[in-house]
Subunit: 432 residues, 2 copies
């Protein structure tokens, strides 16, 4: 198609949604994609660029001049504009901001660049419709007309006082339905949930989910209205968060996707792979101490996998549950002692069942009472220990502000393996 | 507080958000909670009940008569009402529907009960504002006034023809800003994304995220407008989905939470725990065959953990990546051969590095060239095999409509363990 039939491409593209055109871009080579985008209406092109994956976007925008980027940035919501600029090298960033022709937009962007990307300040956009509490509904509609051109999704109008302090909100529905001549003061609701600029992304997501909000206003410490966060940005944040947790559990140490470069994929897997191997070398050292026992009773070696995998599985099960209830602070905070009491009870029952199973399994395989006894005692201790470790590790990591999901991955398996082999050979040493 | 100071409690509660009162309920005993809710305004009570966790809600509503439940159901959005009714036994459900005084609401509920809970039909609500394309903006505002009383979040008005076929939508912003006397036909946009009643929840979530929608209309096969799905319900769906994936990866076989009963927690962990143990007994059988080798060279036993954990880690890393790109169908579908080619390359590099590491580590521990050679060859083969298995298993499960995340858990670890021990002792058998 890309044989420079400009008019045809342009009209074809204008019938599609921006998100669909973005998908087409992924199928094209760099050159062709660049050509296609420059062909389109600037507003449309800007929206397509927003939809790109950050890594791809960074690469893609290398082909554009600062002037071109500034034209796109000019037309975007301030939060999206800042995301794009944050990906650029500092000199490009400065250049682009200087070239943005809408000075209000440039001011918005400079304001937002101060905030950390993952906090409420970094997620918010400056575009919103606000109205002074003293105004009338008719003035308000005028105000919407004036402000709404730049604001994409208007759900509510935010009501502020003379100092810009947030007082409440009036939904568009209420404004449409208001009687002529009524005052904003009569129709707005002061039941409003807002977040501070310093709130974390998780906190914002929790609040928006808890109260079923479509947008939440962001205020500074004095309660002055600075911006708003819309639900679509939070949905993206939530899925990203879920991705990161899964990768942490899988022992992948960078945020990668299947279509990243081979080298990046290799690099993201190596650290935990090698750490896991180091753990196993330590295990080899422990087992090596019992060389004599193993030579005399080779059956002991055959049950090493049972010890390792049971400890690993139990540890991951326990930690996944804790990670989940940490992520999901729905208000009820279980105390540490209560948590441990419950874990103790659950693992006691699981431990007894697993130990019985181990006793019978070993008996069938080896017809040897002593080995069966050793195995069931070991499995019981390991289930108890691994549950305890799996519960305590994410709680400790969480205290130190490390993503507790890391603890549900190779980390817990490696520690539990080592503990397990220690316990196993201790019991072997005592009983055989 | 609950010493029957009714007036005081009522005014206190009315100042809180429903979601906050729900949290208070969790702290109270069944009796007290029931008393508190009956005290409140019916509308407020209904919203509080919606916020409860399904399991808790089912228990909680046992204390209420069908008449009381019907009063709450009457005031709720139709999708929430149906969720509550679906949790009730059939006879209660029928009784409640018969007692709902708003006959339109009762009809909505009966309609929605037909759909499967996890598809678009089950997620949608019947409440929405629709308008005939022939009407004027002034008539439309009248229509909003009439319909909007029952509809909570109005983002857009849906535009239909005489047959009720969806033609497009007009945002409230556009309606407010429209000139007097303009026709709906002049201001509405026909660029509209809709979903069929049969679309899965995942499809709905993907579409809403891709196009950044706050609500999506649901149509039947003829394109007739039946309802809409709002973003807050989809956010809940997305988090639930993420939860399920994490639990599948952790080998927990029921949807449990930390505050479930001890017995439920035990039961949810046992299946994979025992399956994992059975796998290890098979491994013991394999290793048992090489009793003689192990007795002669006990160092071979010491490296069993290295074999097991490396295979497990690599398998989980590979499968987690595939599961993620399966979940995240952003349009680009990698072909199977391309996928495998890339996996091959990545695992080749990782395998070489891991094998070198294994060679050196073994050399340091054992000062033995043959064992080092055995270990590096085994680790290389296992990294290759485990990557392949980790890639192919979720793809196969996905083909059979099984949640591929299951493959990233104990399943892949167990299979890879067995494969690994097989490969290891085969190499031992050939070289030692």
């Amino acid at each position: 198609i890309s044989e420079h039939n400009n008019e045809f491409i342009r009209t074809e593209m204008e019938e599609l949604f921006p998100a669909d055109i973005t998908n087409i871009l992924y199928e094209l080579e760099g050159e062709e994609a660049h050509y296609l985008v420059t062909l389109l209406d600037t507003k449309l092109a800007a929206e397509i660029i927003v939809n790109l994956d950050p890594d791809d976007r960074k690469k893609f925008l290398k082909n554009f001049t600062s002037q071109q980027i500034a034209e796109y940035v000019d037309l975007l919501d301030s939060d999206d504009a800042v995301d794009i600029l944050n990906e650029q090298p500092v000199n490009v960033r400065e250049e682009v901001i200087a070239l943005v022709s809408d000075r209000e937009q440039a001011r918005f962007i400079i304001d937002l660049l101060h905030y950390d990307e993952d906090c409420a300040g970094g997620l918010m956009q400056k575009e919103l419709v606000k109205i002074n509490v003293k105004q009338s509904v008719t003035e308000c509609v005028e105000e919407i007309r004036r402000q709404a051109e730049d604001v994409e999704n208007v759900y509510s109008v935010y009501v502020v006082d003379d100092e810009g302090t947030l007082l409440g909100r009036a939904s568009l529905k209420k404004i449409i339905l208001a009687k002529r001549g009524s005052k904003i003061a009569d129709i707005f609701t002061d039941d409003i949930v807002s977040v501070k600029t310093t709130a974390t992304g998780e906190e914002v997501a929790d609040i928006m989910q808890k109260y079923d909000l479509d947008a939440v206003p962001v205020v500074n410490i004095q309660g002055r209205l600075l911006g708003r966060i819309t639900i679509d940005d939070v949905v993206d944040f939530i899925t990203e968060q879920a991705h990161e947790d899964v990768q942490a559990m899988a022992g992948i140490s960078e945020d990668v996707e299947e279509d990243d470069s081979v080298w990046k994929l290799v690099r993201s897997r190596l650290p935990w792979l090698l750490i896991g191997m180091t753990g196993s070398f330590l295990a080899a050292k422990i087992i090596g101490v019992f060389d004599g026992e193993v030579a005399r009773t080779p059956a002991l070696a055959a049950f090493i996998p049972l010890i390792g995998s049971t400890g690993g599985n139990v540890g991951i099960q326990s930690s996944a549950l804790i990670v989940q209830s940490l992520a999901d602070k729905s208000g009820i905070d279980t105390s540490l002692t209560e948590r441990l009491k419950k874990v103790l009870l659950v693992s006691l029952l699981n431990g007894l069942i697993a130990a019985t199973f181990a006793f019978l399994g070993t008996l069938v395989l080896e017809h040897e009472n002593t080995i069966s006894l050793v195995m069931s005692l070991s499995i019981f201790s390991i289930v108890m220990l691994a549950s305890f470790m799996g519960t305590i590790t994410p709680l400790v990591l969480n205290q130190f502000d490390i993503n507790p999901a890391v603890a549900s991955g190779p980390f817990i398996t490696t520690t539990n393996d080592l503990l397990g082999y220690g316990v196993y050979f201790l019991i072997v040493y005592m009983l055989i």
